[in-house]
Amino acid sequence: MSEDDSGRRDRRRAPTLREVAERAGVHVSTVSRVLRETEPPDGWSPTALRVREVADELGYAPNPWAASLRTRRTDTIGVVMPRLTDTVVATMFEGIEYAATELGYSVLLSSPPDTVAAQQRSIEFLRSRQVDGLLLTSLHQGADEFLDSLRLQNTRVLLMNRHAGSRLPAITGDDHAGGRLAAEHLLALGHREIGVIGGPQHATTATDRVAGFVEVLSEVGISLPPDRIVPSGFEVDGGLVGARALLDRPDPVTAVFAVNDTAAIGALGVARDLGLRVPEDLSLVGYNDISVVAQLPAALTTVRTPAHLMGQTAVRRLIDLIEGKSVVSERLPVDLVVRASTAPPRVVGLRR
């Protein structure tokens, strides 16, 4: 291989575990173990810290042979995309594959569980397959510390869907504006007793939607008590749990905003079981406009996100990064789709 003969390789190649071990004065198996581990709950030991410092200094990358070949493009991008079973997420993937194919790139997808550790395994696997860049759709809030710990210096990374509070560029929907649209709609209908099925705290899609929603309410002097904003999962089960907390009580709300359609469908099940009619007894707003929600008996009012466009845009920007151009974050516009699941509250102001 020409890299071996050119002499460039020695300067450019990443160090082996053995070199890290020699410099740190520990056994090579210790280096191997430390660099594979995630941080223990009680923190790194002094030895582990030294090993990691030396590895950083030498520019260690998990796969030395892959690293030596890194200057060679593979025209492949890696995508780490949890929650693929949600139509909106899979639609983003279709957009990714569509744009990548058009631009001559192949896509490698990993769809791990939506946990930090599982996403880390996926990122490391895709890097070992020598992708030119990574699209990460679902990092958790406060992602910079996590990203720093991965030592991704040689890999181009773009975030999408969730910006995760990171300094890295991200292509997202305008979740804050979407939350505002939902709140303005419910206020205009006359709702004042409102609850939010808020999604997971680690997902900035969810927290931005809630923040936009709450902001509009506070602008008209309504402050939502904490028990009116229920954290939840994004799945149907999350909607079930969240809606029970908001509706199965003596003073149920007259309107619910769920931060995604899937959770909203869970809320529909709870309303049905409690004998609440939609929209007569309960107005419901979802988020994403997945294809099934227009077919519900009371077609769901929701906020439409440009999922396919988001995937396409993210691929174009990632390729810009790979080609050395600079990229800034973009928030794609969203719009409200008013359907039959929202109506004025039945007895305004009567509830005490």
């Binding site: 198996s29 191997s32 030395p64 079973t85 791990p112 070992s128 149907v236 099940g269």
Partner: protein, 346 residues
């Protein structure tokens, strides 16, 4: 290329084998495995120690150059926006990971030419085997034309491909749906299928027709509709069925998404579910149970189908001369509010 590489470099499996006094294939197997539930054997422990000592790190590309194995499998799976397909995919990914294999996925449009391009792409990346989820029936000629050089299995749709296959028992699922609608007292039955090329749909319809035949009921051709597997397919088919001179009193949809499209049209026509129209779907997606009138359906083990596909493929990779037996997983019916309570037996 080995001669050109300088020390220090990671050891080869052969060097680990020499140092531990076992065969290279043993080293390869042990280093690929995850720890067995009853712990490592002594010789496996020794191999791990030596490997760590010598600074061994797995490198799939290098491995492929030595043994032509990459411990990577490829999956070609169109239609990931269907939650059922995505669930199968997650079953594939999890099973592959648990077996120490990596997975490369391509999700092209559901069209033979696009699938062919995707298969070529993955085959070019030296995968050890391929999983194909959406072949179009009859696929035997298509498969022969591919000239596949690696073990390949069909998952979800067998597509009359002749490939080893893992899927759900679609015929039995259709049979259960038909018997259920009859037991509820419906008599003017219709079925809304997927595309003609999808054997999942075809086998479900055949099972359904068999249930009607058992009861001495014939299914007229214009009560059998075909279209896409999604809500739009249900909307188009239901519109045609309700516009007919003698509309059905119950519909079997071969997917829940189709069923939800049918429910939307029924809503627009003011049809009461389940009194004026019974609807039964297929798959039991998470939405089905939460609908205002919860959907009766046939539960398919989508995650397990994916895992079974991987099991089948790894068997085939381990022994390419023996074609492994198909895996057909059982399905079951869940009766909910979208079909009438069972008619009293007289």
């Amino acid at each position: 290329m080995t001669g050109a590489r300088r020390n220090p470099r990671p050891p080869t499996m052969k060097e680990i084998a020499e140092r531990t006094g076992v065969h290279t294939s043993t080293v390869s197997r042990v280093l690929r495995q995850t720890e067995p539930v009853d712990g490592w054997s002594e010789s496996a422990l020794r191999i791990h120690e030596v490997a760590a000592e010598l600074g061994y790190r797995p490198n799939p590309w290098a491995a492929s150059l030595r043994t032509r194995r990459t411990t990577t499998i490829g999956a070609v799976m169109p239609r990931l926006t269907d939650g059922v397909v995505a669930t199968i995919y997650q079953g594939v990914e999890q099973a592959a990971r648990e077996s120490g294999y990596s997975l490369l996925l391509s999700s092209p449009p559901d069209d033979p030419a696009e699938q062919r391009a995707a298969i070529d792409l993955l085959a070019g990346r030296q995968v050890d085997g391929l999983l194909l989820s959406s072949l179009h029936s009859p696929a035997s000629e298509f498969v022969a034309d591919l000239g596949l050089s690696v073990p390949t299995v069909a998952v979800n749709r067998h597509a009359d491909s002749g490939l080893p296959y893992a899927g759900g028992d679609d015929h039995h699922g259709g049979l259960l749906a038909g018997r259920h609608l009859l037991a509820c007292g419906y008599r003017k039955l219709a079925v809304v299928g997927g595309p003609h090329h999808a054997t999942t749909s075809r086998d479900r319809i055949r099972g359904f027709v068999d249930a009607l035949t058992e009861a001495g009921i014939a299914l007229p051709n214009d009560y059998i509709k075909h279209g896409p597997f999604d809500v739009t397919g249900g909307i188009a088919a239901a519109t045609a069925l309700f516009d007919a001179i003698d509309p059905p009193d119950a519909i079997f949809a071969v997917s829940d998404s189709i069923a939800i499209g049918i429910l939307g049209v029924a809503r627009d026509r003011g049809l009461a579910i389940p009194e004026q129209l019974g609807v039964i779907g297929y798959n039991d997606i998470p939405f089905a149970a939460q609908l205002p009138v919860p959907l009766s359906t046939v539960v398919t083990p989508a995650h397990d189908i994916g895992a079974a596909g991987v099991r089948l493929l790894l068997e085939f990779i381990a022994d390419p001369d023996t074609v492994p037996a198909d895996i057909v997983l059982p399905v079951e019916l869940v009766a909910r509010g979208s079909t009438r309570a069972l008619a009293a037996l007289i």
